[in-house]
Amino acid sequence: MNKPLRRIAIFCGFLVLALLVRDNWLQYVKADSLKNDEHNRRVTIDRYSTPRGDILVGGDPITGSTETKSNGLNDLKYKRTYKDGPMWAPVTGYASQAFDASQLEKIDDKILTGNDDRLFFRNTLDMVTGKPKQGGNVVTTLNPAAQKAAFDGLKGRGKGAVVALEPSTGKILALASYPSYDPSSFAGNTNADADAWNKLQKQNDPNDPMLNRALRQTYPPGSTFKVVTAAAALENGLYTSAEQHTKSPLPWTMPGTNTELKNEGNLPCENATMREALRVSCNTVFGKIGADLGNDKMLEEAEKFGFNKEQFTPVRSNASVFSKDMNKSQTAMSSIGQFNTAATPLQMAMVVSAIANDGKLMKPYMVDKLQSPNLDTLEQTDPEEMSRPLSEKNAQILQSMMETVVKDGTGKNAQMGNGVTVGGKTGTAQHGVNNAGKPYAWFISYAKMSDGSSPVAVAAVVEDENANRGDISGGGLAAPIAKSVMQAVVNSRQ
């Protein structure tokens, strides 16, 4: 009987071996993915087991942590608090015990909780010395004064968004969206938190306060898109200077149709120069440029500015749209920011920033560096050139045209004085079926110091549902907000 006994012994050995192999598979090979699975409650427990690291703006934290009131069963020790939550929400996102996390709070979660691999050595040391684990900090590029100017400006105007960039680096200086939400209100996991969360959802609040309009909403850019069209004209050699007459007829019928493209009012657009056409915002001139250049060349230029691509700042922004395979009349409409063309406020800020930076588009970013708990730098973001939508010479031609717009065109509201030159472009974008919706008021601009440097480029958009249709023009509603943001940046420089 001993032979089968030995075989049974081997069989039992295989059973145990199978268990050991499975155990290694679970606890070694799959350990990390199981451990970090978003549904694994331990992730949340860990996220709130120690005070979270902070998100810093201008050296000061805009976030905090507070001990959760213990009710026995709550396994989460700390919860997130926010200073000026609604103002900073488009930057920070939220970290909620009940509703996960978003934006910077989510992307840099490992740094903030102190679980990042780069903190491993330090954590091990802390474990040996018995110190509690600490989270690292996220240092942002934002400018608190500019952010406040942007947020306050929007608050006075209703819905909208503002993005300000530093043209020479791509640093995001302001990123505001209105209406906004206070992430503190649902940071915990009580019923009150759940109620606050539910109230903010789009189905319960038509204003959709949790939408980050600066990055995630695309608007028809309207006339502000004409600077892209002008850049395309210069880059493709259709016109070589701002003073060249464009030989545009008035009225102008779009090729392949019987439809006349209309201007807003009785404007001197016949055979206007590009400077003049941009100053008074001629639809006919820029529509014709688009039609003359054709879809491919316009698309190429728009994509150099970043259209049709998501941006990661590192918070993701939606892709702005400039369509392919359009016929001449559709291209003409698209070239004045209508038809399918749509842009996020970030996208238009990138356009104006590239022009202000003599043609170089810098990749926009909002995280300057990641710090360990003892403030050592773990990771520094370096400015990075994304593309070169236009040559230095053409950029300067376009700058002078945009400066004319502010000096004695539609953008007079943005003049700053004190030796600061402003270049800009207004836009009033129509939308809705038969343009029935309230138009969006746009303003994009940059400020240039007397030494020729340009510290800030801004895009502001206002959707004002209560204003009269006639009142909504970029120059009237959006330009003052852009101006106060530029002023805040210029002031903080001095």
Partner: protein, 481 residues
């Protein structure tokens, strides 16, 4: 030359009464470790959870030490040549189980759903009862061959035990499986005891019938096929397993009994064909029953896609069967433990909620002791099985061999089915990890199992009684050239 011859003859003159050493002192030394390690673990849990050494540490150490000491003294007196490792290994597992059950008692989450709180003192009581049964087995069962007399009584007893949960008013349906009975407020799993009784019946029956089953066969395609009438017993056991599966919806118990029978049949007859038949029949049975039994289908689906089951459970779907997030929670517990574990008392395995301290207790070991600790636990089980198989090899009578391999084979299958189920290697079944898991029936029955194995190994290793002094000894010398 002659002197060397003489020295050889001196050694070979009689069969010595020196024999195998009893190894009782080895057992005692190992028992010290088996008590000290759980005590250390207990202190560890207390420090991790409450920042103090638990006040009950000394009492716990004394209690466990006393139980182990009584076990040891009884073995020393009544089974002096028994295997020295089985008692310490079982004590170690039982002690660690107590510690982890106490650790889960501290979880507020489990307390709030009435899954823990005072389980550890009860388990200590069960352990004492288990050791008591162990002592009774060793004292009153002087020779395991006595059990042979009760072959058919065992059969009847096992059937009664297995069918008890189906008796209306007595059986209790807990989480979908009907393998419990409740008597005077206690839940008892008769299957745990049936395991032992059934092994006695199989051993007695097969010992008598093995020749008929082994020799009367036809050869077909390289396999020895048994005669039709010899197929009877395996068909009956198979039928009973299917009945258990269908009416008690417990795949584990059914698999365990059938597997045990096939192993013993194979050992008794040395015919590989029985293994082939066994595998085929269990496959047919399992697939057949699973095709119409929703409880088992759910278990299989949960095994294939635990995440889907988790979501179904969370979304509160009502489709007639109970969905459970336990398996996914257990997998997360294992994964979160990683290589070295979080440390005792520092994991979150209470998220498993139901049965966290019984069927799923291995997940807590996995999370808090890590891959390293869990592998050690699995190897302790492997060692118990190995000692059992060794006992079977050493046993001199076929009944002892069959009983020992039946019991250790069933033990191995149970460990595999439970650990494999909790780790997602095979579909989950409702059985408990021997010695570790919370549950009276399991602890008591397994202590009895260890008692029987010790008895068999004592008989096997006991040296033959020294022959009476033989006046002809000089005449029967073996002389080597």
């Amino acid at each position: 030359m002659s002197s060397s011859t003489q020295s050889t003859t001196h050694h070979t003159s009689t069969i010595g009464a020196i024999g195998a050493p009893s190894r009782r002192n080895t057992e005692l030394a190992m028992l010290v470790f088996a008590v000290a390690i759980p005590m250390f673990a207990y202190a560890n849990v207390g420090l991790a959870i409450n920042n103090t050494v638990p006040p009950g540490l000394l009492a716990y150490g004394v209690g466990l030490g006393l139980l182990a000491g009584v076990g040891h003294l009884v073995v020393r007196k009544f089974a002096p040549y028994a295997d020295p490792l089985l008692l310490p290994l079982a004590t170690l597992l039982n002690g660690l189980g107590l510690v982890v059950i106490w650790r889960l008692d501290q979880s507020k989450l489990l307390q709030s759903i009435d899954q823990a709180g005072s389980a550890a003192p009860r388990q200590l009581l069960y352990t004492a009862m288990g050791i008591a049964l162990f002592v009774v087995v060793l004292i009153f069962l002087k020779d395991h061959r006595v059990l042979q007399r009760y072959t058919y009584i065992s059969m009847v007893g096992a059937l009664i035990l297995l069918l008890l949960p189906l008796v209306p008013g007595l059986g209790a349906n807990i989480y979908g499986a009907k393998i419990w009975i409740s008597v005077a407020g206690f839940s008892i799993q008769p299957g745990e005891f049936a395991k032992i009784v059934l092994a006695i019946f199989f051993a007695g029956y097969l010992m008598v019938k093995r020749d008929a089953l082994a020799l009367a066969s036809r050869r077909f395609m390289g396999l020895y096929l048994p005669r039709g009438r010899d197929l009877g017993p395996i068909l009956v056991v198979w039928g009973i397993s299917i009945v258990i599966l269908v009416f008690e919806t417990d795949l584990g118990t059914s698999l365990l009994f059938f597997g045990m029978f096939v192993i013993m049949l194979y050992v008794a007859t040395e015919r590989t064909s029985w293994i082939v038949f066994g595998l085929l029949m269990s496959a047919v049975g399992a697939v057949g029953v699973a095709s119409f039994e929703p409880h088992i289908q759910t278990r299989v689906q949960a095994w294939l896609d635990p995440m889907r089951e988790f979501n179904l459970s969370r979304s509160g779907v009502h489709d007639g069967v109970m969905h459970s997030e336990q398996l996914q929670q257990a997998l997360w517990a294992f994964g979160s433990g990683g290589t070295l574990g979080t440390g005792l008392g520092q994991g979150h395995s209470d998220l498993i909620r139901f049965a966290a301290n019984s069927d799923f207790i291995l997940a807590t070991f996995g999370e808090e002791l890590g891959l390293a600790g869990l592998m050690a636990i699995l190897l302790v089980y492997a060692l118990i099985v190995e000692r059992g198989v060794r006992t079977a090899l050493a046993a001199r009578d076929p009944f002892g061999k069959l009983l020992a391999i039946g019991l250790s084979g069933a033990f191995a299958l149970q460990v595999f089915v439970v650990a494999g189920g909790v780790m997602g290697l095979i579909p989950l079944t409702g059985m408990t990890m021997p010695f570790l898991a919370y549950g009276g029936s399991s602890v008591i029955a397994n202590w009895a199992l260890i008692g029987i194995l010790l008895r068999i190994s004592d008989t096997a290793r006991r040296p033959a009684p020294s022959p009476a002094p033989n006046p002809d000894a000089e005449m029967t010398q073996v002389v080597r050239p």
